[in-house]
């Protein structure tokens, strides 16, 4: 019996979807640019300029998840406002990724085992 299988599968699908948006799109574009650069440098430069900004790709991917969940409640103006908030958030996350941590740096506050007052 594998009761959790459908949920796990759903999670994997979501991850694959997001990764394809974030990494796949950007990687495909990068590899195309590299291949074309050997044949036609001018064309390659044009393609590079037209390549999607990875930051915007990530922002769009996160917005897509939110719209999938609450889209019916969010009109275009609301989505633009939220998109700007997401962009700030992604930039903040990128800054924090530059902070060097060790494997042993755990979350703070720390987990505290619980023992009740009963005998």
């Amino acid at each position: 019996m594998i009761p959790d299988e459908p949920i796990v599968g759903e999670r994997q699908d979501r991850r694959a979807f997001v990764r394809s948006l974030i990494a796949g799109g950007a990687l495909t574009t990068a590899s195309q640019v590299a291949a074309n650069a050997q044949d036609d440098p001018v064309q390659a430069e044009k393609q590079q300029k037209a390549a999607p900004d990875p930051l915007q790709v990530e922002v769009d991917a996160r917005l897509a998840i939110l719209v999938a969940r609450r889209g019916e409640a969010l009109d275009d103006e609301a989505r633009e406002t939220i998109r700007a908030d997401i962009e700030s958030m992604v930039k903040r996350a990128r800054r924090l990724r530059r902070f060097v941590l060790d494997n042993g740096d755990g979350p703070f506050p720390v987990m505290i085992p619980y023992r009740g007052v009963t005998e």
Binding site: A78, S88, M89, D105, Y114
Partner: protein, 465 residues
Amino acid sequence: MMNKADDVAFASLPILGNALRSGSITSVELTRFFLDRLEKFGGRFHSVVTLTRDLALEQARRADEELSSGTDRGPLHGIPYGAKDLLATKGIVTSWGAAPYSERVIESDATVVTRLRAAGAVLAAKLAMVELAGGMGYRQPNASFTGPGLNPWDVTKWSGGSSSGSGAAVAAGLVPFAIGTETWGSITTPASYCGVVGLRPTYGRVSRAGAMALAWTHDKIGPLARSANDCGLILNAIAGADPADLSAADRPYRFPPVDAPGRPFRLAIPRNAVVEAQSEVRANFEAAIEVFRQLGSVEEVDLPKGPWTDVAITIIAAENAAAHEELLDSEDIFRLTAPEDRLGAFADTTILASEYLRALRIRGRLARQLDAFLAPFDAVLTVPTAGPATPADASHGDEYNAPSLGAAGNVCGTPALVMPTGRTKEGLPTSIQLDGRAWSENRLLALGLAYQQQTAWHLVHPEVG
């Protein structure tokens, strides 16, 4: 002997306590006095959500009976107070300042309310606040279903947030003290704008059971009152471990302290701490520093560098979005008063778990860094807000950013005390902020007491009527 209304309205807790014990006033008389003021002036400042008249008079009658029969519960016995309306009160509306909850009744009391009742204090009112304690990202004072919090010194100015009613009610003499909460600036800002004393205790000093959660690892509960001494007496009543809140630390707290260090204070001022502050805030800060120089050594230091703000925003945003997930999934979110609050937390729902955890992991490093910075000193002195109270009808803009340890102190859960230092030419209060190591509230309060023994800014109050 207290004759004039102002003598009562703006009296400290010890003075009111002495009056109750000497028989010159009863708790019922005192409670009626403050209930009448809350009713008469509360609307002027948008500071009251619910007047708890019946409960208050019942509690006051009990206090009078106990005091007359020799049962003395301590310095808060028989004294009215107001609670920020995010603290649950059995049988009374607890609105969180938000329209979707404006008629919601929680059938239990917050631990803080229970402890104040045990100390004999009398709950006179639930006080107004910024909706959901500001977690949705409000950018202007009109962010509460009760209207913008207005300042008793000048009603065209804001009383600060998110404990807007707590600050205004104490400043206007509508209650002798109030309870506020802080996730980031929500006690220190209204204390500063309203010219009252505010104490943000160490994270975990006071149980949050029954208080609305904005950010579980950031939220603190503390007093707004007339003096550092009053704040200590209130903290003494509400501090301590609580099985209902596992973050409430099992550390002893006692005020007045029994172990004064018996040495001059060691104080620090961050280099260029007030360079960008408004000129009168800066001048009054410098005058206050001259007083502190008589109390101990003052040296200039550099504030520790670190991603304080990015870590604080990431943690608060992720926790707030989780704490209000059901609201964000409902149409009720669009009933909030401030338009920006209706959309403000949607983006936060897309913060990745790895990003939230990274912020928590960095916080561990920052906490050690901040403690090492604070350790040599009894307090670091800054200003809580870069300017005096801002207009009640304007956006916060950049004025809301203060050159203080606001982000660092809140992300690491260290305590802070805010006290008035003077007035501007317009008559608005200015303040100083004292930040200390975790669990050092009594050091900060001792400094506050010493400062207030040499100055009288905490005794000045607005003309209310």
